[in-house]
């Protein structure tokens, strides 16, 4: 019994930090740029596919380097997209404009990816480390999920500190409140926007790589991941990275526990619990 519960919690937590990671980038764009970035899901997929592509191109290069390269490529893509497209969409007063634009972007990227890489589910082989396990007493933990957990925690702490403690973080937050006044304070608006977009895309890319290592991704899994990201961000109270992590872990545990009772649930109970919490919050006036 204890063993089952411990394993459920461990699996839930390791899946959950992955969910948190999936939501982290969106928390930035949503919370700071005030852009409902519907292309976030496809960025995750792109990250995964870049890593898969790089490893197949250079099978001997160590994984860490592949992750770094993927992150950089995603960041560049994110910044470029922000500069070229989203920035302009943000000048319209109507917030649905950037939302619809990013929706268009996600449709384009999804289909382009399917054209180039095929529509199959793919995963990133990381060799035998993915299959190692660790025994602590009667418990059996996968080594790889444990490493993911630690890695994600480190990334989260770093991002959180950057946003809360540094000058960059201060500018980012100021910008999200009042872009025009921030500009007057010497903040380089477009640059900071692009930096945030790059950071968000980089986080999405990392999430994609982790996802491809643990599970599998297809060009069409963007929608699913976007939904998870949204749920994480909303439950984590907008823009808060710590909240995103906790919400991710919550959803991860819901997912694992619900699958235990109903293996065919897919994401059904995750979605249901999200909607229920949201409605509960709304009813008790927690959403404005």
């Amino acid at each position: 019994m204890i063993q089952t519960v411990a394993e459920l919690l461990f699996q839930g937590a390791t899946l959950g930090v992955l969910y948190g990671m999936i939501g982290a980038g969106l928390a930035l764009t949503f919370g700071i740029l005030k852009v409902v970035n519907l292309a976030h899901g496809v960025f995750i997929t792109i990250g995964a596919f870049i890593a898969i592509w790089l490893t197949s191109l250079m099978p001997t290069v160590p994984l860490a380097l592949i992750i770094v390269a993927t992150t950089v490529l995603c960041a560049l893509l994110g910044a470029a997209l922000q500069y070229a497209v989203i920035e302009r969409a943000m000048t319209f007063r109507d917030p649905s404009v950037p939302m619809m634009v990013t929706f268009g972007v996600s449709v384009i990227f999804t289909n382009a990816l399917a054209q180039f890489a095929g529509a199959d589910l793919r995963s990133l082989g990381v060799g035998s480390i993915a299959q190692k396990s660790l025994s602590v007493g009667p418990f059996n933990f996968g080594l790889f999920p444990l490493l993911t957990l630690i890695f994600v925690a480190v990334v989260f702490i770093a991002v959180d500190a950057t946003i809360r403690k540094t000058r960059f973080g201060r500018e980012v937050r100021a910008l999200s409140d009042r872009p025009d006044i921030a500009a007057l304070m010497g903040v380089r608006v477009r640059l900071v926007h692009a930096q945030v977009a790059a950071l968000a895309a980089a986080l999405a890319g990392v999430a994609g790589v982790l996802l491809a290592m643990r599970a599998s991704v297809s060009p069409f899994s963007g929608g699913e991941n976007l939904m998870i990201a949204f749920e994480v961000v909303v439950l984590g109270r907008l823009g808060s990275t710590k909240g995103a992590l906790l919400a991710g872990i919550f959803l991860g545990i819901v997912q694992i526990v619900s699958l235990r009772f109903d293996s065919n649930a897919g994401l059904l109970y995750v979605h249901l619990s999200f909607i229920l919490i949201l409605v509960f919050w709304a009813a008790s006036g927690k959403l404005k």
């Binding site: 449709v107 384009i108 054209q115 749920e231």
Partner: protein
């Protein structure tokens, strides 16, 4: 008064056009054009909700699926004629949307958008798991247990045409009424509208239910023509993408825009088909057109075209701005 006259002209003109063409065109062409009309109808509904109502829903595909499934279930298991159900099912979906709307309107803006998407996903998952609905295998349309004989696409096409015209005229009347004014006001500020005496909740719900019923009608019409329905198809996000792109390209918050957008969509699709391009390429092209429109002419083609051609504004608009 000229306004009423214009509406009448619309009904008579396009109504007879759709009836006449339903008699003249081949059944394959009618199949295609029915889908075109359905997309135009769906786009009008999304546009009503998002463009005029300011409620950007990402879950309208749920109602398309419900319309289709509703038709199949009721027609297959009752002795009543299938044509009756094609009228009744959308109304039922419209009513069924009421509780969902009451739930969803607790969420605002982006929360609403995504909440709708999640709700659609939940619905699709439930249908996919329901034995009576054929699970992932889907259903075949056999009204009263018998295979459907004859060529229904003529009636379907004429019906879709008349429904679309009816919808447009209906929307014109609605938007020029006091309710339309309330709708436009709410888009700029719900609290302000409320403080001005508008019953925001009721208006929102009404629009939501109308849009749900309209999408269900589209779904019922479309899946009537295919005779087979599957959950991964009926609830797919591509329905939503079509509605959204068509509205955005033609002009969100106008009534003519979605029609123009549908024309663009169909032109692109047929060009892609005739050039032998894949579906992916088609979506890439549509996405690019939609983004370009949003960035260059954020109000869409129709408002831009209208001022170029000096066509006077005869409809209430709620364009992006």
């Amino acid at each position: 008064m000229t306004f009423k006259y214009a509406n009448l002209l619309l009904i008579i003109g396009f109504g007879s056009l759709s009836v006449v063409s339903s008699l003249l065109l081949s059944s394959g062409m009618l199949f295609l054009l029915t889908e075109v009309l359905v997309i135009a109808l769906l786009a009008q509904m999304w546009n009503l909700l998002a463009g005029y109502g300011g409620m950007v829903s990402l879950g309208q595909q749920a109602f398309v699926g419900l319309g289709g499934y509703g038709l199949y279930v009721f027609a297959n298991h009752s002795g009543l004629p299938v044509w009756l159900w094609i009228v009744v099912v959308p109304l039922m979906v419209g009513v069924a949307a009421l509780p969902l709307g009451m739930l969803m309107f607790k969420l605002k803006s982006a929360y609403f958008s995504v909440g709708m998407w999640v709700a659609a996903e939940i619905l699709a998952a439930i249908v996919m798991r329901t034995d009576a609905l054929g699970q992932s295998g889907g259903l075949v349309l056999r009204p009263g247990g018998e295979s459907l004989a004859g060529n229904p696409e003529r009636i379907l096409f004429a019906g879709a045409g008349l429904l679309l015209i009816g919808t447009i005229v209906g929307l014109r009347v609605l938007l020029n009424s006091d309710l339309g004014l309330a709708l436009l006001a709410m888009r700029d500020g719900e609290e302000a509208a409320e403080a001005a005496g508008v019953n925001v909740r009721r208006t929102n719900l009404l629009i939501f239910c109308i849009a749900a019923a309209g999408c269900a009608a589209g779904g019922a019409l479309y899946y009537f023509s295919t005779l087979y329905i599957a959950p991964t198809d009926a609830f797919q996000i591509n329905w939503l993408i079509s509605m959204m792109f068509v509205s955005v390209i033609g002009g969100v918050g106008t009534l003519t825009g979605p029609l123009l957008g549908t024309a663009v969509l169909i032109a692109v699709r047929e060009t892609c088909t005739s050039l032998g391009l894949t579906g992916g390429t088609y979506w890439i092209i549509m996405g690019t057109i939609a983004i370009a429109t949003l960035l260059i002419l954020p109000r869409g083609l129709w408002p831009a075209l209208r001022s170029k051609l000096h066509v006077p504004k005869t409809e209430k608009e709620a364009t992006i701005g």
